[in-house]
């Protein structure tokens, strides 16, 4: 196992210790579960809170996006495992500034049930909660079953947009509405070249030959749409764009943002090679690209591979996307 760690059981706790030690100006641990990260300085009183949560191993997702104009708090589980309901409830309490809390996270069964349960737990605290689920991975279910799709890198856009609306003083219903609008306007697809290793498992999550790739694979190694020989960059980018645009067509005059994301090991050099094709395809369709993101925004530790995420904008979404935000991993404005 080519990982730098002490014992697998301590991986997440030590990681979070180091994170808050490195960036005390951004993050603090809240409560005593050691698995809830909140903003170092809580948001304004009366601001709608935004929480997310999910398994570890996806930095900057989820914890990294706690920050101004983004999330207020986050519950974090073991690697690729859901945090517990109690931790989620703690995150909701940390995020609450009296105006209610939006739960904004990915459509994974365990996370959904735990977050629902967390909502039941905080009813006693009189915190109003709403929920928006990200289900952006087009490879994970057919368009007719969109509600079954899993949530992947599209979360980054949803955090940004909901976070900006909350920072601007919108109320819980308004923030929830715009988060749902962003969730509806975002599509992702990924391709993996290699597995990563979950520390507690100690061996690669899946096996894949030295010259193979899997199109449509999920961020925990969930099965994709095909596995075959590694293709040239332009062919990979072309197929990924085909899949996105088939699900959400983009045309003349459309304004879109696009995230070309490394799953971890794939270096930025290769993302730029792919970005040439992404840009040509979108501009070729007559669309304008707003604030492209190219880098590591949602990862699976040392997995090699990429994902593309497309966000179709209207004036409201574009304004919120361009609004300032700040955390240790991303700053706008």
């Amino acid at each position: 196992m080519k990982k730098i760690l002490n014992t697998p059981a301590d991986y997440v706790d030590e990681m979070l210790d180091g994170l808050v030690a490195a960036y005390p100006e951004f993050y603090r641990l809240h409560g005593d579960s050691h698995r809830v990260v909140a903003r170092a300085q809580a948001g304004r009183a009366g601001k709608v809170g935004i929480v997310s949560g999910g398994g570890s191993g996806h930095l900057p997702i989820f914890t990294g996006y706690v920050g101004t104009g983004l999330l207020d708090a986050c519950a974090i589980g073991d690697v690729f495992a859901s945090p517990s309901s109690e931790q989620m409830a703690d995150a909701i309490r940390a995020a609450d500034q009296g105006a209610g809390v939006l739960r904004l996270y990915g459509n994974y069964g365990g996370d959904v049930m735990n977050f629902d349960m967390a909502g039941d737990l905080v009813e006693f605290d009189d915190i109003r909660c709403t929920t928006v689920l990200l289900a952006d991975d087009v490879a994970s279910a057919a368009p007719e079953e969109r509600e079954k799709r899993r949530g992947v890198a599209g979360m980054v856009y949803a955090f940004k947009i909901a976070g900006a609306a909350a920072e601007a003083g919108q109320d819980l219903d308004a923030v929830t509405r715009v988060a749902q609008k962003a969730a509806d306007a975002v599509r992702s697809v990924g391709a993996a070249l290699s597995s990563c290793t979950v520390p507690q498992a100690g061996r690669p999550t899946f096996d894949i030959a030295e010259d193979e790739m899997e199109m449509g694979m999920g961020i925990h190694g969930e099965p994709g749409v095909w596995r075959n020989k590694l293709r040239p960059a332009d062919a990979i980018a072309g197929e990924m764009m085909d899949r996105l645009l088939a699900d959400m067509p983009v045309g003349q005059g459309d304004r879109v943002s696009v995230l070309v994301n490394s799953l971890g090991a794939t270096p930025p050099e290769e993302l730029y090679i792919l970005y040439r094709v992404v840009k040509a395809r979108l501009e070729g369709a007559g669309a304008s690209i707003v604030m492209p993101l190219v880098g590591r925004y949602a990862t699976s530790m040392e997995m090699a591979g990429v994902s593309f995420t497309l966000l179709k904008l209207d004036e409201e979404l574009e304004g919120l996307l361009r609004a300032p935000c700040d955390c240790a991993f991303w700053r706008v404005g």
Partner: protein
Amino acid sequence: MSDFTTRDLDALFEALVTKMAEERDHLCRLDGVIGDADHGIAMLQGMTAARDAVVALPEGTLQDKLNAAAKGFLNAVGASSGPLYATAFLRAGKAAGPRAAMPREETPALVAAMAEGIAHRGKAQVGQKTMFDAWAPAAEAAGSDGPLPERLSRIARAAEAGAQGTADLVAQLGRAARLGDRSLGHPDPGAVSAAMIVATMARHFEDPA
């Protein structure tokens, strides 16, 4: 016939921990085939925390203890089974009520309450290849007539049959749902552990006399 008391409940949770400890690796292996190989860990951790919470309340009512079990299970487990069993225990607590003992004739209602909790939390229906495919037939058997020992053995057999039957289903909820047809031929780990839990409960609900 003696009542089912909080002491009996303590003993039931001890037995559940023992069973899950024995079956931990087996359940992980089943989950490894169509899920993420942690179901045995989750169930053992959850039941251990539930047992600890239950015995830590020697003066509590049946409902207090089951509520504590729910909370203990929930906090200990990050996986799907956490909220599912936490909700199940909360419902069982409500069914048992704030009393120190209940007539054994009423204990099958606890099985039915747990099944409802799981369906509520998981939004599960029969046939989707989940633990509900063991809990649902158990709950139905719990509603049947006849002497308690017969009802209890019917409950246990129904859960077991339901669990076995999941091998012939295509998963539609949970991690295994991503596999489509590839989940065929493999029993659902949550249903298998559910049958074990139901059987243990049925044994403990019977009058020891």
